[in-house]
Amino acid sequence: MFKAIGKQIHIIWSQIVTLWLVFLHLFKKADTVEYPDVKPYMFPRWRGRIILTRDPDGEERCVACNLCAVACPVDCISLQKTEDENGRWYPEFFRINFSRCIMCGFCEEACPTHAIQLTPDFEMAEYVRQDMVWEKEHMLIQGTGKYHDYNFYKVAGKAIGGKGKGEAQNELPPTDRRSLLP
């Protein structure tokens, strides 16, 4: 009898303690971030909207090697290679379907020229589904992105207009095989 009453008193006491502890939360600061008014700090390596960058000379970095399209697990990248009069390769069109993109960043890892990069921008909602398909002119920026000094054609061995074989950085002049005769 007394044990049962004691148990009931314990139950009621624990309810009162619960009420009091929850009441104290009234005076705590809310954890809510009021998003559209207060923007959260986005870290530089956040994987968001995809951009195409230019090299320090202002030329397109992308050489249309298709490695990003191969690496993409959801096949949202499509591009077509073409060549300008100097022999530089560049994409004729470069299209990303952001309604399929999962922002995994594999394309950035695969890119040999640091052309494709992910940025901390995440506000990409659209009202029309077709507006989620971005073309090259939407993604190509004027700057170098995260890598300021890298210039693929300055370090690559490929000859383009204005730069012959052996003129790249850290590159030896081409060997004249006939002069190597014993």
Binding site: Q8, Q15, T18, L19, L21, V22, F23, H25, L26, K28, K29, A30, D31, T32, E34
Partner: protein, 327 residues
Amino acid sequence: MFSFEVGSLLNIAFVLGAGLVVSIMMIWVERRFLGFFSDRLGPNRVGPFGLFQVIADAVKMLTKEDWIPPFSDKFTFVVAPMILPIVMLLSLAVIPFGPGVGVMDLNIGLLWIFAMAGLASYSTMLGGLASNNKFALLGSLRGAGQMISYEVFMGISILGIVILSDSFSLREIVEAQRDGWFVIPQFFGFIVFMVAGMAESHRWPFDLPEGEAEIISGYNTEYSGMKFGLFMIGEYIGMVVMSALIPVLFFGGWLAPFGLEFGNEIFSGLFWMGAKTTFFLLFFVLVRAALVRPRYDQLMSYGWLVMLPLSLVNLLITGAVVLYQAG
């Protein structure tokens, strides 16, 4: 006709308007305070402090598809949600909000409220039964059992007050508390009445009829649009009735505490009644935020094995003391 006496047109308009506005605004107040209690902000985007959230909710409910399931009992299905707000507004009519403020002054006011609370359970029962859905039926079964068992000792718990004040009229009960609030001699009655009142108005933690975790939404599973809205508004009016009834029965109604009366008698009465009602409304919100829903067998055993003996002992002791003092 336009003076402050019980039953005048001004009074009817005031009580109806204030009761409806307060109970509808409680939807916003409750969500806001639930947010504060769980370290959130609650709805604060629509209008200043989110005050227009209620209007947005109402527009949403009124424009939603109002679907009547083809397998339901159509007449009962439509009638059931109407019962709850009507009955709750009727019980709001007898509550004295101040000296001379109120719609009716019945000499059986307390019994009237119990009759109306009994009718309110039909809303739950018929709503679940007419839906022809097994979860709705489970919810209405739970609702019926809960309301019948909690109404028993809800009635017994306030018989002590009836003994002390010698009346069933709520105005005379308030007047009888001029010498001291009934919460002191009737403390256990107050505890039992508050718990039973929460169970009676389906407030958390006694929302077993609509336990959304176990039986989806219980008796209102099949309801949509404004029919669901009527259930919700009825529940909130019931909450206002309960939080107005507790001050009237136990905390001196419109009487000012410690002689803090000021100005006009009616104005002061309305102020104190409003303050006490607000306190209990917010307390109900706190209880919702803090306590968890019991299991159904726990609810039943708690009611019959703890609350009923407690209210009976309270009634016996009150009667014995009153008889002893009478000589």
